[in-house]
């Protein structure tokens, strides 16, 4: 009887996952979709505990509820307290935790299935994928929050990584077929998988991290699905495969938005020695600076201003100041809107979330295809902490590493003002000729500080 009820609960949970994901892809229903999936998850978790057949000691119940309780408190507080700018790395961190969970399940279950080669194969597969996802996510997290600054590349890292990957396959196949199910092999494989996760992510540049996180996200889904296969547990299977396939598609969609094939993200890298040199030779000219007071006057007399936000805005926490600027300008009859590149920030949609936080009107956030024809009728474009997404080299310079990436065509506007902290190259590590154009003025400084000065200057104009 108990076992029958659990199947109904699992079916319910699977349906909530599918509907939840479906609703998450529409702005109107997204929030409810998330809550729906959460309800299904709670049902699946508690159903598993309460409808379990067989004797279970109180110590174990204590430990299960202890683990859930602790995880809930820590997870809840972390998620509630994190600054919105830090979200991408948090998603990566949570993803890593899921991967670690899958890996640990494999480590424990290995000993219980020594007589069943099929199960051993499933366990090893889940354990390897989980471990790769875990260590890879931790590296991605460290890269996004700045702990790990640069892409670290061992010599011949592509060949090395491929060899390790093949090694992992061969080693696990050997363990399964030879029937040598020893601790030493299990932990050897575990260590190798962790190492592969690190080496897999570490050479990839920060600009590609969203794609990597999305990919690792689908890995963890796959690891969960292997767990489902092992236990004949439908909800783990449906949830895991659903995320595995949706995550893979999402990864490809993101790659498409950046015009970077997945293969290049993983095996090629931005800012190699060669490309950096090639880009360094282009467009060294003079730059012109503008101060907040002059810019305030110029903005005051503009009819239409477009703001292009980038990661620099997020880092400087300038989303509230920029809203204030928008308000002031609109009070003076200036038309203001935001031009959002699909991959502005560190994750697609990152800028939308950030600007929504500071109450910017949803209608004012314009997507790239819609806004590109508008630049030619725009008096002034204010680029705040964005670089690669406005680099004209993507259209003109076939040697540029970002050649072919769709960009915001800000160079068509009458005037361009770029706020950056310094002349350092952007995330892709390449120079931007836009900064040297005649119509471009540079506004150096921390986005929040400079924009606050700009707002004060505007107020003083009355």
């Amino acid at each position: 009887m108990n076992l029958d009820i659990i199947h109904i609960i699992y079916l319910f949970a699977s349906v909530t996952f599918i509907l939840g994901l479906k609703m998450l892809s529409n702005p109107k229903t997204a929030r409810n979709g998330n809550i729906l999936a959460a309800v299904g998850m709670i049902a699946a978790i508690f159903g598993t505990i309460f409808f379990h057949e067989g004797e279970v000691s109180n110590v174990i119940y204590g430990l299960i509820f202890g683990g859930i309780g602790l995880g809930t408190v820590v997870g809840w507080l972390t998620a509630k307290r994190v600054q919105m700018t830090k979200m991408p790395e948090l998603v990566s961190l949570f993803n890593g935790m899921g991967g670690a969970c899958a890996a640990l399940i494999g480590l424990v279950e290995f000993h219980h299935n020594l007589d069943n080669p099929t199960n051993i194969a499933i366990i090893l597969a889940g354990m390897i994928i989980g471990s790769v996802s875990f260590s890879g996510s931790i590296i991605a997290w460290a890269k996004l929050n700045g702990t790990l600054k640069n892409a670290i590349r061992l010599p011949k890292y592509n060949i090395l990584n491929t060899l390790i990957l093949i090694g992992l396959f061969v080693y696990s196949a050997y363990i399964v077929w030879s029937g040598t199910y020893s601790e030493a092999h299990l932990y050897g494989l575990f260590t190798a998988a962790i190492l592969y996760g690190i080496l897999f992510v570490i050479p990839i540049g920060g600009a590609d991290m969203p794609v990597v996180i999305s990919l690792l996200n689908s890995f963890t889904g796959l690891a969960a699905a292997f767990g489902g296969f092992l236990y004949g547990n439908q909800v783990m299977l449906t949830g895991g495969i659903l995320v595995g396939s949706a995550g893979t598609l999402l990864t490809l969609v993101m790659c498409e938005a950046m015009n970077r094939p997945l293969f290049n993200v993983i095996f090629g890298a931005f800012g190699d020695g060669d490309t950096a040199q090639a880009a360094g030779g282009v467009s060294q000219g003079t730059i012109k600076e503008v101060g907040p007071s002059d810019l305030a006057v110029q903005m005051n007399y503009s009819n239409k201003i477009l703001i292009v936000p980038g990661y620099g805005l997020a880092v400087a926490q300038a989303q509230h100041v920029i809203k204030e600027l928008e308000q002031l300008l609109e009070d003076r009859g200036v038309e203001v809107a935001y031009a959002i590149h699909p991959v502005a920030g560190r994750m697609p949609g990152h800028m939308n979330v950030l600007l929504a936080e500071s109450n910017v009107d949803y209608d004012k956030l314009k997507e790239m295809e819609d806004v590109n024809p508008e630049f030619s009728q725009t008096d002034l474009v204010l680029v705040v902490g964005a670089n690669d997404v406005v680099n004209p080299a993507a259209k003109t310079d076939s040697t540029s590493p970002i050649y072919g990436m769709p960009i915001l065509e800000v160079e068509n506007a009458k005037h361009v003002v770029v706020n950056k902290r310094s002349m350092n190259a952007g995330y892709a590590g390449i120079q931007n000729e836009l900064f040297f154009r005649d119509k471009t003025n540079m506004l150096f400084g921390d986005a929040k500080k400079v924009l606050t000065e700009l707002v004060n200057e505007l107020k003083a104009l009355d």
Binding site: G20, H52, I64, K80, H111, N217, A223, F229, G247, M347
Partner: protein, 102 residues
């Protein structure tokens, strides 16, 4: 060859689920606007936290004297819950911001 057919027959229900779910996953997020990529990834991230169910099963099946299994299982339950709760809450926070307008 026989082994493959045997494997398929033994696990046919699950293999059906896997294959159909692959298509569902692709269909479900077919036309997602770029704005929602981050929340969608974060929501999917929370859903694969279902792996915690496996960790709970490990615990339920473990002998109360097997301290290593219990220790690892406890950590697995903790980490899995962290993935689920953190994932859903952070997604909700992102989406809350979209809703606030007007």
């Amino acid at each position: 060859m026989n082994e493959i057919i045997e494997f398929f027959t033994q696990h046919k229900d699950m293999i059906f689920i896997v294959v159909l779910m692959v298509f569902v996953g692709v269909e479900v997020i077919g036309k997602v606007p770029a704005v929602l990529h981050t929340p969608l990834m974060s929501g999917a991230n929370a859903i694969h936290g279902v792996v915690v169910v496996g960790a709970i099963i490990v615990m339920l099946n473990s002998e109360p004297t097997n301290y290593i299994a219990m220790g690892l299982g406890f950590i697995a339950v903790f980490l899995g819950t962290l993935n689920v709760v953190g994932g859903f809450v952070v997604t909700d926070r992102m989406l809350e911001m979209f809703k606030k307008k007007k």
